[in-house]
């Protein structure tokens, strides 16, 4: 497994797509999480109106270091999940597209060892995404606070660690979903298409339909879906302005447990497909 990990790390760390996806996440964070918001609040329109009745200066508090965890998760947290799904689907689908899956399987490691190495490397890359995401969010918030001449108090270290861990779990879960789809469809395009459709559309449509039944079991069912739990985990860190928030459907602990189970299920599903399939 160590050999497979080394090989996968060598090839994925040099793959431009891996860092382009990470770059998109960070760019989105800077632009949508901080830059555009700060510009809108620094130079408000004449008819500026906020539903909470807050002034631009009051709203700017969201952009300062004390709120960098909440603001960054609230702003673009779900995008990280989508990009991680693409990462996983690309890491596997391209191997089929280039035919390199047969190159890998005719070297020494078993198929399961090769998969384990791949999962390990994806875990490392999504960890890098998570750390870089919060490091950049902290930097952006510090820069804005410095420009605005505001004192820079920070969230508790444990909250920052929890946020990094939570986002890693979410990114990891969706990347493994992408990997499982990649092995299932043996290509990137279908895996990415189906994965994103599920992430952004299918779960939403499903619950809109179910909510029409106005039955108590709907909310019970909701608690077991990956997207709902990922959202609940993000919401568990709170919102800068609470009235914006929806109430999380499950607690943070429950969300972590469900996402961890999904991650394990995607890994086992990938292993079953990898073991069973012929490589044509």
């Amino acid at each position: 497994m160590i050999n497979a990990f080394k090989a996968d790390w060598r090839k994925l760390r040099q793959r431009p797509a891996v860092w382009i996806l990470g770059g998109i996440l960070l760019l989105a964070l800077v632009l949508f999480g901080y830059a555009f918001q700060w510009i809108q609040l620094q130079f408000p329109a004449k008819n500026f109106h906020n539903d909470l009745g807050l002034t631009p200066a009051q709203l700017k508090v969201a952009l300062y270091p004390v709120n960098f965890v909440k603001n960054s998760l609230e702003g673009v947290g779900i995008l990280g999940g989508a990009l991680s799904l693409i990462l996983g689907a690309l890491a596997v689908g391209s191997e089929f597209g280039w035919g390199t899956v047969k190159t890998v399987y005719t070297q020494r490691p078993s198929r399961i060892q090769a998969l384990a190495g791949q999962l390990g490397v994806i875990g490392v890359i999504t960890a890098i995404y998570s750390v870089a995401f919060f490091a950049l969010a902290a930097l952006c918030s510090w820069i804005i606070a410095t420009i605005d001449g505001q004192a820079g108090s920070w969230p508790a270290a444990i909250d920052i660690v929890k946020a990094v861990g939570a986002s890693w779990l979410i990114f990891g879960c969706w990347s493994l979903f992408g990997i499982a789809l990649g092995y299932l469809f043996r290509q990137s395009a279908m895996a990415i298409g189906i994965g994103l459709a599920y992430l952004f559309v299918i779960e939403g449509i499903l619950f809109r339909v179910l909510n029409g039944f106005d039955a108590s079991w709907v909310s019970s069912v909701e608690k077991f879906f990956a997207g709902q739990n990922a959202s609940a985990l993000l919401q568990s860190f709170g919102q800068v302005f609470p009235s914006r928030a929806a109430t999380p459907i499950v607690s943070a602990g429950e969300a972590v447990l469900v996402l961890a189970i999904y991650t394990a299920v995607f890994a086992v599903a990938s292993a079953l497909v990898v073991r069973a399939r012929d490589v044509a």
């Binding site: 050999n3 090989a7 060598r10 047969k102 190159t103 399987y105 060892q113 012929d278």
Partner: protein, 302 residues
């Protein structure tokens, strides 16, 4: 399956079916001996690539069994001793040739020090820094051979290694295969180039529609050599030769006769014909080529 210490590859009733309708490989019994260059021949769609993929563990057989370097196909310890090129060379297009070999070495758990030697052996060192995606097919094939060589394998499995190559590339690959098979290494070569196989291989197997139709030494398959005779008058020559050798040993049309006899008898036959007043204008030994054997067994061009 005769699994002896001398067999590097041995299969017993190896079969691969896709659904009920398609039988890609049908009860194949194959034996590749240690140190030989073994040619694996068959028309397109005969099941050659499917067989090689089963030997590498990429495809699971429907029934039957196989042993490769004393292991079951796909066993990690066995794969460590096998170098392979199956169909087209497959590497990461954004990595250089050298980086691709590092990836292969990592997977195989091999030291990176072998990489430059392997690149040198296939004369790829000058292009080692270039991305794989920029390589021509010939260079890609050579990189695939280098990837196999870094394992210092005791068995090389080469599936159509000259596919897609231009004439210069074919010449280079032919030379490389000869080099690979010159030592104690066993080479299992699937190829369409019968002339090549005839020159390089010690033994061959021919399959058709998934079934083995012949297996043996090249000279055995070509069969007993014969004699070609041109003589006048031809009718008298035929009559004389039939009397001498028997009806079954004489065939041919348009004045050219093929005699199914040992070529060592050429002088006796010549003397007999001349003494019968028959003028002999041509008398030479003739052997069937592997291509003729292949065509007679498969009824198809390779």
């Amino acid at each position: 399956m005769t699994q002896t210490a001398d067999n590097v590859v041995a299969t017993h009733s190896l079969t691969k079916r896709y659904g009920q309708a398609i039988t890609a490989v049908d009860g194949l019994d194959l034996e590749v001996h240690h140190g030989e260059v073994f040619g694996f021949l068959g028309p397109n769609g005969a099941g050659k690539t499917t067989t090689l993929r089963m030997l590498l563990g990429l495809i699971r057989p429907t029934s039957g069994s196989a042993q490769v370097v004393g292991r079951r196909p796909g066993d990690p310890a066995g794969l460590a001793r096998i170098g392979s090129l199956v169909e087209s060379p497959a590497f990461y297009p954004y990595l250089s040739g050298r980086e691709n070999l590092k990836v292969v070495a990592d997977y195989a758990g091999l030291p990176q020090v072998r990489i430059d030697a392997a690149l040198d052996e296939v004369e790829l060192l000058p292009r080692a820094k270039d991305r794989f995606g920029t390589y021509s097919m010939g260079i890609k094939q050579r990189l695939a051979v280098a990837a196999a060589l870094i394992k210092e394998p005791e068995l090389m499995i080469l599936d159509e290694p000259t596919n897609g190559l231009d004439p210069q590339g074919v010449v280079e690959m032919r030379s490389l295969i000869r080099q690979l098979g010159s030592g104690s290494r066993t080479v299992l070569l699937s190829s369409h180039l019968l002339n090549e196989v005839e020159q390089i291989c010690d033994r061959v197997a021919i399959i058709r529609k998934g079934k083995l139709v012949a297996q043996g030494r090249v000279d055995e398959l070509r069969g007993q050599a014969s004699l070609i005779v041109k003589a006048t008058p031809s009718d008298a020559a035929r009559q004389s030769l039939v009397q001498m050798l028997g009806q079954a040993a004489v065939s041919g049309v348009d004045g050219t006769l093929r005699l199914s006899v040992n070529p060592d008898r050429a002088a006796d036959i010549n003397a007999a014909l001349v003494s019968a007043g028959i003028r002999v204008s041509e008398l030479r030994p003739a052997e069937r080529t592997l291509e003729e054997v292949f065509l007679s067994l498969t009824g198809e061009a390779a």
